[in-house]
């Protein structure tokens, strides 16, 4: 179900109105996590700390944007029978690059994220955007769409992590905000540190989002 092809040539400048829509929609009305329901697995697993979520968000933005760009460039030459295999190959290759680069330049993040770096391959957002958009649009738009969806995913991820880390450990990026321990007054909410809590947090985010914007309510 490909989105209709947009023509940015009608607008002037580097980023026309249609282009900005590609960047803005995924942040709210077409958010990959809360509306499209894609990419949930990693959102639940890495949101325990803000630093982990930031690394994951950046990694996903890179993979989503780069794969959308590459697939869009190749879209007219890929034989239709092996379409999905080529998509998977490109995604897997890019994720492997991320893993190698992280291991060399961000070793602590690499150790913390471990298995979940590889799981970016199965992140439905990347595959989903390739099928829904990149296969039918020009490279510049595909790239922007990739970045937009990556940002939409990234900001929810970091927001969840801020809530979970702040109430679960009293810290933000490792710095103490609410002092815990024998000298502090804040009793850390241990539920927030457990992986199951991210389901509650995301459920509440969805609730807030749909309460604020009734258009998004599930009418089925």
């Amino acid at each position: 179900m490909a989105d209709t092809i947009v023509d940015s040539k009608k607008q002037g400048g580097l980023l026309g109105k249609e282009d900005m829509k590609l960047l803005k929609d995924p942040l709210h009305s077409n958010n990959p996590l809360t509306i499209q329901v894609l990419g949930i697995c990693s959102a639940l697993a890495v949101t325990g700390s803000v630093s982990k979520s930031l690394v994951m968000a950046v990694a996903l933005i890179f993979v989503c944007a780069a794969s959308s760009l590459i697939i869009s460039l190749l879209r007219n030459s890929i034989p239709s029978s092996i379409r999905m295999i080529v998509q998977l190959l490109v995604i897997a290759g890019l994720v492997q690059i991320v893993e190698i680069v992280l291991g060399a330049f961000a070793y602590t993040a690499y150790v913390e994220l471990s298995v979940f770096i590889g799981l970016i391959i199965t992140n439905c957002i990347v595959m989903g955007r390739l099928e829904a958009f990149a296969m039918g649009n020009n490279p510049k738009q595909a790239f922007l769409d990739g970045i937009g969806n990556g940002l939409g995913y990234g900001w929810i991820l970091v927001a969840m992590a801020v809530v979970r880390e702040l109430f679960g450990k009293g810290t933000f990026m490792g710095w103490t905000i609410l002092p815990t321990g024998p000298d502090g007054w804040y009793v850390a909410n241990n539920l927030m540190v457990l992986p199951a809590s991210s389901l509650f947090v995301i459920g509440i985010f969805i609730w807030i989002q749909r309460a604020v914007d009734p258009e998004l309510v599930d009418k089925s």
Binding site: G48, N76, S77, I78, P79, S80, S81, I82, I85, V86, L89, V90, G93, Q96, I97, I100, V101, G103, A104, F105, Y107, V111, G168, G181, P182, N190, V193, L194, P195
Partner: protein, 252 residues
């Protein structure tokens, strides 16, 4: 729109896989050495983090290097045999059971040693002398947590019994519960000053309820099994060093 001229499927797959494989192998060969260096550095930092010397700045690679260079490392067996850097070939000959061979003594790793039969198994001892002459001995132990393996480095004072520093790590313990053995400074601080051995037995125990005593540490609420794993890890791991410690004490 025009007719889409499709390239032969096999040619296409071959082309795209070759390009991907080429890019990846180039990237891997150039960056892997940096990755291995990171891993070795992380291990050094873990060992040094136990040593109670405020002149060591763990965040400064220069400080880590100077400190680690002054660490004397040996490997011992449960029977008290000592091997040094020079005995690397002999050490690799003892690599039975599919255990990997080492490029240098510093690579000694308990996870790998587990594959060997007990009489061939080596345990590391890191000896550090501070500027004021005070010696610290760091040893390595390994055991089972709730979900998977746990391990740690224990720093001992010259009496080879009082703990002066500790480092724990785990493969897959529950964040916020079992994982606190690594993350909680409060938990780790309890170990400092406690004694491992009581006469000839390992007496260090992690308890559910606080109890006064030089062998007792209070566990983490909600992480009983991981903490029991820590107690078992001490019992098994520290007993391996008993013969060597006796030898060292008799030498003095």
């Amino acid at each position: 729109m025009g007719e889409k001229k499709e390239m032969n499927v096999y040619a296409y797959v071959f082309m795209i896989t070759s390009v991907t494989a080429l890019v990846l192998s180039l990237l891997y060969t150039s960056l892997n050495p940096i990755f291995e260096a990171n891993r070795a550095e992380a291990k050094k930092v873990a060992i040094l983090s136990c040593i109670p010397d405020s002149t060591i700045v763990l965040e400064d690679p220069e400080s880590v290097k100077t400190a680690y260079d002054s660490v004397k490392m040996i490997a011992i067996t449960t029977s008290g045999q000592i091997y040094t850097k020079k005995d690397l070939d002999k050490i690799n000959e003892m690599a039975t059971g599919g255990a990997k061979k080492y490029g240098e003594l510093a690579e000694l790793d308990l996870a790998n040693e587990e594959k060997r039969t007990e009489e061939n198994r080596l345990y590391p001892v890191y000896e550090y002398k501070a500027s004021n002459g005070k010696k610290t001995y760091v040893v390595a132990i390994r055991g089972n947590g709730l979900w998977d393996k746990i391990w740690g480095y224990i720093a001992l004072e010259e009496d080879l019994n009082t703990i002066s520093g500790i480092y724990f790590d785990h493969k897959n313990e529950t964040p916020g519960l079992g994982a606190e053995i690594k993350d909680s400074d409060a938990f780790k601080k309890q170990f400092i000053g406690k004694k491992v051995f009581e006469k000839d037995n390992v007496a260090l125990t992690v308890l559910k309820r606080p109890k006064k005593g030089e062998h007792y540490v209070t566990g983490i609420s909600g992480a009983t099994i991981t903490c029991d794993g820590v107690t078992a890890m001490f019992a098994k791991g520290m007993s391996k060093y008993e013969t060597y410690f006796d030898q060292l004490k008799n030498k003095k």
